[in-house]
């Protein structure tokens, strides 16, 4: 095989590899609802999720976790969230805005809660929203993370 063909073929393969790397990154990272930060020798995760159970009912989830968003990391002094709000939006207007309970758990590595309700409006453009401030405390250290998750319904 001529060297020029080999080089061209190699570049082609490397190009395809780079494209696939990009696609894989998007498949793994995009579309979800968590953020994280190094904390207390591990990683603190703040996650939210909105789930369409049926076209009438949806569920909001919130989770603070050490090591992963499902826990598994070291227990810390305090973990949870200082506020948790969920909302429904139809055609540019918020039709329900609900303030749910804050949560603070001690000496553990995760906190989780969910809320289920009927979707209270009909529209052509419908969204569910999930916002809140996650808090992690260990020793004198404190971090806060407040990712908001907004998702088209249903």
């Amino acid at each position: 095989m001529k060297d020029s063909y080999k080089r061209a073929f190699t570049f082609l393969l490397i190009g395809v590899t780079v494209l696939l790397l990009g696609a894989t990154y998007r498949a793994v990272v995009a579309g979800c609802c968590q953020t994280y930060s190094p904390f207390a020798g591990s990683t603190a995760y703040a996650a939210k999720n909105n789930i369409t159970i049926t076209i009438y009912v949806w569920r909001a989830e919130i989770m603070s976790g050490m090591g992963s968003y499902q826990g598994g990391g070291p227990a810390i002094d305090e973990i949870g969230w200082t506020f948790w709000h969920v909302y429904e939006e139809c055609d540019g207007a918020v039709w329900e805005y609900k303030e749910l309970s804050a949560q603070s758990r001690r000496d553990t590595n995760w906190a989780y809660d969910l809320h289920q309700q009927g979707f209270s409006c009909s529209g052509s453009s419908q969204y569910t929203g999930n916002r809140g401030n996650h808090v992690f405390k260990e020793g004198g250290q404190v971090i806060n993370m407040a990712p908001e998750y907004r998702k088209q319904f249903p």
Binding site: N49, Q70, A93, S124
Partner: protein
């Protein structure tokens, strides 16, 4: 050179195989999930829903498909007619909900149970909404909140937030899957002024879903009532009902709505136009 090339080739091929494997695995997981979502905790609740729906589908599949097809034709007919007239459109919808606490917005305004949704949409030649203004008013006409959409950005003044998003739809869009419908009724109505209307009553049943707002009540189904103009295909009014006890007697009306205005206008009123210039102070 030959040997170096083989090493490069082997390395690249190995990487490609790994990446393809990862993508196929990821795609397979998504396909299994179907159109439903999965909980953070990995709930399998939705699989049960799909199964129950398919069991109910078999007996009346053809009839349901026929009604659904007619419904979609009406929706498409109206959407195509509207798309022929680019420019500003003005829409007013009256919403009626059961009395209850729908919360207070970050802007301090209480969300009313009954409200008017007044909206303006700028439709381009391609039938896509370029700009929009959405105002919610209470039935006394007092503004509760408003939002604007321009250049792919929503500015929600009630939420005090900015989001990137798809253009809103001007005409009714509610895609329904035949497989999730337990039964469907079609009615032909004639109004006092001899306008023909087509009404669909679409019933869904699903495994019990506990609700946090209904004092431990469990939703076991739902019902949509949609009424269309039989001639133009425009949706005129609708109702969305949650069935709480497995029958149509125990119900919670999530929402009922009626289109009061759907008109092509020459431009925006001056008191509305200035809203497009407003910015969120986050």
């Amino acid at each position: 050179m030959e040997s170096k090339f083989r090493y490069i080739l082997f390395g690249v091929a190995l990487t490609l195989t790994t990446l393809l494997g990862a993508l196929v695995f990821s795609g397979g997981q998504k396909a299994q999930a179907g159109s439903q979502d999965t909980s953070i905790l990995g709930s399998t609740e939705n699989e049960a829903l799909e199964q129950a729906s398919f069991e109910k589908l078999a007996d009346t599949a053809e009839e349901k498909l026929s009604f659904l097809s007619e419904r979609q034709l009406l929706i498409d007919q109206w959407a195509e007619a509207v798309a022929q007239s680019p420019g500003w459109w003005h829409v007013v919808v009256r919403y009626d909900r059961e009395d209850g606490d729908y919360g207070t917005l970050p802007n301090g305004k209480t969300i009313p149970a009954d409200a008017l949704g007044e909206r303006w949409y700028l439709l381009n030649e391609a039938g896509v909404v370029e700009s929009a203004i959405s105002i919610m008013r209470d039935l006394d006409g007092e503004e509760v909140q408003f939002a604007t959409f321009q250049d792919g950005t929503w500015r929600h003044f009630g939420l005090n937030s900015v989001y990137q998003g798809d253009p809103p739809a001007l005409t009714w869009e509610q895609h329904l899957e035949a497989g999730t419908i337990s039964s469907m009724t079609r009615r032909e109505l004639t109004t006092d002024n001899q306008q023909s209307e087509v009404q669909f009553v679409i019933r869904h049943s699903f495994p019990p879903v506990p609700l946090d707002d209904e004092g431990g009540e469990t939703a076991t189904g739902g019902m949509l009532v949609e009424t269309y103009d039989g001639k133009t295909g425009q949706i005129l009014r609708g109702e969305k009902v949650l069935l709480l006890g497995g029958n149509e007697q125990e119900r919670q009306i999530l929402d009922s709505f009626e289109y009061l205005v759907f008109e092509r206008v020459q431009g925006l009123p001056e008191d509305v136009r200035h809203l497009l210039d407003r910015e969120i102070n986050e």
